[in-house]
Symmetry: C2
Subunit: 364 residues, 2 copies
Amino acid sequence: MPRPEPDTDNAATPGAAAVLALLDQARALTNPVLRSVVGRLVPPMDTVAAYHFGWIDARGNPADADGGKAVRPALALLAAEAAGAAPETGVPGAVAIELVHNFSLLHDDLMDGDEQRRHRDTVWKVHGPAQAILVGDALLALGGELLLQPGTPESARAARRLNAATRKLIDGQAQDIAYEHRESVTVAECLEMEGNKTGALLACACSVGAVLGGAGDEAADALERYGLHLGLAFQAVDDVLGIWGEPAVTGKQTWSDLRQRKKSLPVCAALAAGGAASAELASVLAADAKNADDRNTGAENGFDEEEFAARAALIEEAGGRRWTQEEARRQHESALASLDEVKMPDDIRERFTALADFVVVRRH
Amino acid sequence: MPRPEPDTDNAATPGAAAVLALLDQARALTNPVLRSVVGRLVPPMDTVAAYHFGWIDARGNPADADGGKAVRPALALLAAEAAGAAPETGVPGAVAIELVHNFSLLHDDLMDGDEQRRHRDTVWKVHGPAQAILVGDALLALGGELLLQPGTPESARAARRLNAATRKLIDGQAQDIAYEHRESVTVAECLEMEGNKTGALLACACSVGAVLGGAGDEAADALERYGLHLGLAFQAVDDVLGIWGEPAVTGKQTWSDLRQRKKSLPVCAALAAGGAASAELASVLAADAKNADDRNTGAENGFDEEEFAARAALIEEAGGRRWTQEEARRQHESALASLDEVKMPDDIRERFTALADFVVVRRH
């Protein structure tokens, strides 16, 4: 499943202006360090990485492509502030998280055969599979290098947390691949996969920032839970958009997730709901799986718009859309409840809250 | 370039019996931990990894394939003993090194398109490219997890060294790929690549074992230099075998490295030597590179045995074979000189020396 970027186009939520300022600050503080660390790579990996981050185009000319929304770095810096330190204290954590995030994008795009990311050709399309593997490996190793560099107890604790999140990220991708070949996935399995694939690194951004800022493990764990719930809420919103989102808004095809046979939350919830629509959906997906086995084809199938619209209607009728929207709200509430477990200045708490609202409350 | 395994078939060197005992001990101490750590992976990654390590066959039945010679684990345990600790102290380091080594095998085999390793189909051939990428990533992350787990200053220092070696490993693979497309590579560039690709992890096995055993950074650095020179000596021997090795002994095709267009040490040294044979070799390789560009083909070309034999003769005539054999001896001597920088019990020093002799003095 291609990793969605937290979408921050919607400036209509309360505190949106503060969030935009927070994201700008995060980019300003982390981008120079990110560029400098990536510059440590030997050729041609430095060039391939610079292309991936959007700093140059496919011909090597300077570019200024969309490098992502900096939600993870912003969380790391804010968490350092929550621990009573300057935001700058969280910068190595923010950059390390970005490096690991981009490691997973490089490898997942290749594994999933995704040809486009952020409206540009993916690295494996431009520079070949070997460079996508190699540069992904290098970014992962750079992330560890950056955190372990200072040799302090805090940096080692942060490295350990980043390592644990990396393992979850990989688990999530393994589960995602495995689920594509199954007729049915339970809601619990789907939530676990999404928690690993989307939640773990947002969670880790919070805890690593907190640890670098001097927080104890208890506070770091609570902030990690905030980040996990934030990630799950975001993913639930994204799963709804993945089926019913307007192509003009999402930049994806209609029924995008259905085309890719994704067992996303609305599908899993609809299958678990019982009733006539649920049963019909189950039999449609079972037939799909059988056809795919017979033809041994990839994710694409020759269905037309009407077929996808009919499936989306079945999922909605079975309650999958409503359940997922409610799940987004539940996860959003859990994120705010986790915040309450940590002592921090009111203005920091308000920014965490605004960030959660901003990331979760999206057009749909 | 496929990674050669240190070859320990030759039991004719002095101290060979002690080395065989050392390798047996290393396997006995590390394999149970390796199996247990790999068991942490979620399905199907646990199965894919078990296939890679030779614990099961492609159908999932128990197997007992050659899992490698355990030279790296043996170095880690011996280095822990050199620092005055029990060999068991080095086990987490030995296992972490093996995990990182196997991460690189999984990814390199896929990048290089190698279909066989240790006389078995490689993971990407059996389980597909996505699983080779994913399980490689997982083994790398497991290596860090294992070292960071105890949360001690020693474990953090060891993790930092392993991370640095991983970066070198990746640099070496990047250089190796880049050099295949070049007409000519200097001896210095070749040594740097081989130091990264073969030397760094053997070096790291020594220093990580020493650090876990309680050694200071100075002693660990000296043992790291021993391991680096050992790796370079081993690789020089392997480079000679890669061209002139008997297929019956090496298990490879005749002129194996020439078939794969490798810029290994004999080739680089011959190109640098000057004289008529050197100039003729240079023009042959330049024509090769041009043909490859024109046809846009991979490593294979349609040459017959005579053509390869003629190239090997040119390399030998230019002095590339002799220079590489001398380089192996120089690196072997440097390894033993590095040993002299570290205080350790005589019996430990003798085993380090025996291991160097054993790995380097091979049939050729």
